[in-house]
Amino acid sequence: MTTHWLPALVAIPIAGGVLVPTMSRRWAPAWGFGVLIATLGVALFLTGLLREDTVSYAVGGWPPPYGIELRFDVLSTFAVPIALVAALAVPFATHSNEPVTTPEGVAVILVGTGGMMGFVVAADFFTLFVFLEVLSISAYGMVAMSEERGAGLAAFRYLLMGTVASIVILLSVGLLYTLTGSLNMADVGQRLPDGGLPLHLAIGGLAAGFLLKAAVFPLHVWLPDAHATAPSAVSAILSGLIVKMGIIGLLRTPGLEHLHELLIWVGAASLLAGALFALVQDDLKRMLAYSTVSNIGLVVLGLAVDRTGATVHILNHAIIKASLFLAAGAFIHRAGSRRIEGTGRSMPLTTSAFAVGGIAAIGIPPTGGFTGKWMIVLGALEAGRWGFAVMILLGAVILALCYARFVVVVAFRPSPADREGTSEAPLVMLVPIFVLAALSVGVGIIGGPFAAFVGK
């Protein structure tokens, strides 16, 4: 089936982003929010269409493999959380004084969202690379939006490592093109030679590049500084969405089964390392960043044992991690600085949303985090990989202690004397937090049918 809404999914946010700089600072966030809600509508419509049949679109009228094909398949349903989190992040940021809601800031977010849309629907390796660059550059820009000293350096290190990854990915795409003569994913998949060093170099290169973009241990060193110094609204986009693009790229890599053994070990290492690093952090946003590394590790491990479980987990985790970062942002906003001890006392709603998000991040049954984790544990057991199943649960225990520690810091420590007057977060911050927290539980409750839909 083909529909004009598929290219529109990519065009709307980009058009919105291109037009934003012509507006005044007052109207930019409202315009951004409107464009993103429209994109969310298109994404939901396309997901509805997907139930009957995969939606594919030949750009320019040239049928694949000659022209570029856009394809809306199960992985592309990631467009829904992308549009949702981005749409909620823009109003959330109107309160922070950081330049997130200047016309240029909103343009970066909108074009970044467009880049992500293009990335998830591209069915052509080079188009995938180009939109990967669009979302990466907007990600580097997002990190640099913070007024904090050192944000520039964190953004530069992220850019350096991210671009090296992109270079390796482009080299691999070039190699695949040399080996198969075509760039269309399905076509390349069929024409792949069945072995040979160039093929392994290409697949290894793609995997390594995407693993770095997904901040999997040991290639994660850029993530903590970048996500901690970025403004909170933007950290939600970075940690919830942009890190997942690496995983979606990995899922698009042909011939991944050659690397299953590697993925299992790298995933398990990232799972444990992320959790242990998170345990020793004393800053909330750095802890959340390392918790992302841990959950991404779980997903990479899941890729090798139960692909559907991994896909379900990144979809749920996007919403969960976004709500956690927004809650953290609300605490920091009310505390006026990164020292957020005791701010939760006068912010019961935000604290409870943070607690629900924490429970979901750990993966306790009714919440979204459990569905994916459960399927991956089952997959690991079926594959006879007992050690890894135990590691997944151990990681969850460590993460639980991390989140508990910060619930204590936020809600059980006395707040310093000078900050008596803190009150609940403003409504424009609370609504996004609660929408995302409610969704992270709602997604969990419909876990079964949702996994069946993803597994189709």
Binding site: L153, A155, F156, L171, Y177
Partner: protein
Amino acid sequence: MTPLLENLDYAATVVLLLIGLWTVLADSNLLKKLMGLNIMETAVFAFIVTSGMIEGGAAPILGPDAAPPFMAPIPHALVLTGIVVAVSTTALALALLLRVHREFGTLEIDELRKRW
């Protein structure tokens, strides 16, 4: 090793790529790292362009006197897009470097590690 002599062009691009990678990893100045990054990018573009070459091939410009065999045109289109991607990443990186310099006063890593 004889096939390597035939694919000398590919080998050259790999050498360029590795020189760039070495600069990115080893150089202590952030601006030099950025130059290393650009060298890596141009190396990959060189690889893609040479992969499209054909013996005695003419430029993919169809005209009255142009005769086949032609170079594969797709690599050229890819590299054109790649170069633009490279320049925009570099421009953003340079802007970030200016901010780093304004905040820390230096672009040398050893100094930066001390001051941050």
